[in-house]
């Protein structure tokens, strides 16, 4: 602001003088205009005009700039999403193509895997190459008088790798009786801890015959249902599994399913 206004009082122009100045007729203005017309140096003019030209680029080049700006901004999120998506697809692919061990139905209506037998396991080739017709025949036999299904794991370590990772985190003593009391289904108590490590198809077969397997078996069966495209059944079973194993339900959701019913 103005300094020492009191001392400058005498230096103030009158309103008339101010009006004259504002209209451009003031003697002060005329004296000022006699000053030289300084101009910016030519090199400064060139630099500014060059900068103005550089700033304005052809339309195609401007689009390129927009694309580059977009890529610079979004490159990291896009790369992260692509990597995570790729990893997930690989994991799902591995889970879906995992080999399934066979299950054997014995004559008295129980179901045994090779590891459950008293003797050593038969050669690998004979189990994997078992004809489908023979299996169907055995299954139909078992359906008539099946009172109890015994499911055991054949290759514990192999099965653990084939199952979803979350399934191995289930508690070792699942409360199967809870569900059995709920719907009156038989429980696989007799199978013991061995029964928790069985492959997906085996569990599915056990289900179809009314059994309620332990948690890991159950989860494997749900996965198997999903693979076969029976999502409705898988959802129902997952809901029931969640009732008994809340942790298992969460784990199953991580691997792709979600409960839809609350009992």
């Amino acid at each position: 602001m103005d300094r020492n206004p009191g001392k400058q009082e005498s230096s103030q122009a009158s309103d008339a003088e101010l009006d004259q100045f504002l209209s451009g007729d003031s003697p002060v203005s005329k004296a000022y205009r006699k000053l030289g017309d300084e101009e910016p140096p030519a090199k400064l003019d060139r630099a500014i005009l060059d900068a103005a030209r550089d700033h304005v680029k052809p339309a195609g080049q401007r689009w390129l700039d927009i694309d580059l700006r977009f890529w610079r901004h979004w490159s990291r999120p896009i790369t992260t999403i692509v990597i995570v998506g790729f990893c997930l697809s690989v994991v799902l692919q591995i889970m879906q193509t995992a080999p399934v061990a066979p299950i054997e139905f014995n004559g008295n209506g129980s179901v045994n895997t090779w590891a459950d037998a008293t003797g050593p396991a038969p050669p690998e080739a004979s189990t994997t190459q078992q004809p489908a017709s023979a299996r169907n025949q055995m299954r139909s036999k078992a359906e008539g008088s099946l009172e109890e299904i015994t499911v055991t794991a054949r290759k514990r370590l192999e099965t653990r790798q084939e199952l979803p990772l979350a399934a191995t985190a289930l508690p070792t003593a699942p409360p199967d009786k809870v569900l059995a009391e709920a719907d009156g289904s038989p429980v696989l108590d007799e199978v013991g801890t061995e029964a928790r490590h069985v492959l997906a198809d085996d569990a599915l077969e056990a289900w179809e015959q009314g059994a309620r397997p332990t948690g890991e078996v159950w989860l494997a069966g749900i996965n198997s249902l999903r693979v076969q495209g029976e999502l409705e059944k898988a959802g129902i079973e997952l809901d029931r599994l969640t009732l008994v194993y809340p942790e298992a339900g969460a784990a199953a959701m991580i691997s792709g399913g979600r409960p839809r019913h609350v009992y």
Binding site: R3, N4, Q12, P40, A47, A52
Partner: protein, 189 residues
């Protein structure tokens, strides 16, 4: 192109017409440079600020909105650049302050050579301009070089209209005194 007003030229430049910018620049380069030169009192500083002002105009051209006259926009940027320059270089604008005019500070009374320089400097209206306060000189130069009205000067400087009138009255009074009797001018301290 030369018939277009400043706002139209600026908008055309924003659309990529460099010829429009050349016309616009040609219209305002000399008045703006003189405003900066006489306000700063230093040619090198004036050139630096001048380049900075136009760089800002160029870089902000795509965001330009014709809400006011282009010259108001231009001199507002110029004023901001000048303030920034003072802050960067930690210098004060060429001005008379409470302790005395800049000219008085440049020379001491007991130095005859300096006294002669002072007399020579005061013999031009340029010297008298430098002896005004920064605010008075700014208001005077905005009117003389930019051709602004009181209201526009008020908008550019961010003070009230009456304040601008007051500054102009003091500026005119001091300059008039110099013009009528330069030898008797007792530059107010």
């Amino acid at each position: 192109m030369k018939d277009l007003d400043d706002t139209a030229l600026m908008l055309r430049y924003a659309d990529g017409d460099t010829g429009a910018f050349e016309t616009l620049y040609g219209r305002h380069r000399a008045p703006l440079f003189r405003f900066l030169l006489r306000q700063a009192g230093d040619r090198q500083m004036a050139e630096d600020i001048f380049q900075e002002v136009w760089s800002r105009i160029i870089s902000n051209s795509s965001n330009y909105r014709p809400t006011a006259r282009f010259t108001t926009y231009l001199y507002h940027i110029a004023r901001n650049c000048m303030i920034d320059q003072y802050r960067r270089t930690a210098t004060q604008p060429a001005t008379r302050n409470a302790e005395g005019s800049q000219i008085d500070q440049l020379v001491s009374a007991d130095n005859p050579v300096a006294s002669a320089a002072r007399t020579e400097m005061l013999s031009s209206i340029e010297g008298a301009l430098l002896n005004l306060t920064h605010e008075q000189r700014e208001a005077f130069l905005l009117k003389e070089e930019g051709g602004f009205t009181l209201q526009e000067i008020s908008e550019i400087t961010g003070v009230g209209r009456e304040t601008v009138k007051s500054r102009l009255r003091y500026a005119l009074g001091n300059l008039r005194k110099f013009l009528t009797a330069p030898d008797e001018v007792n530059l107010v301290k």
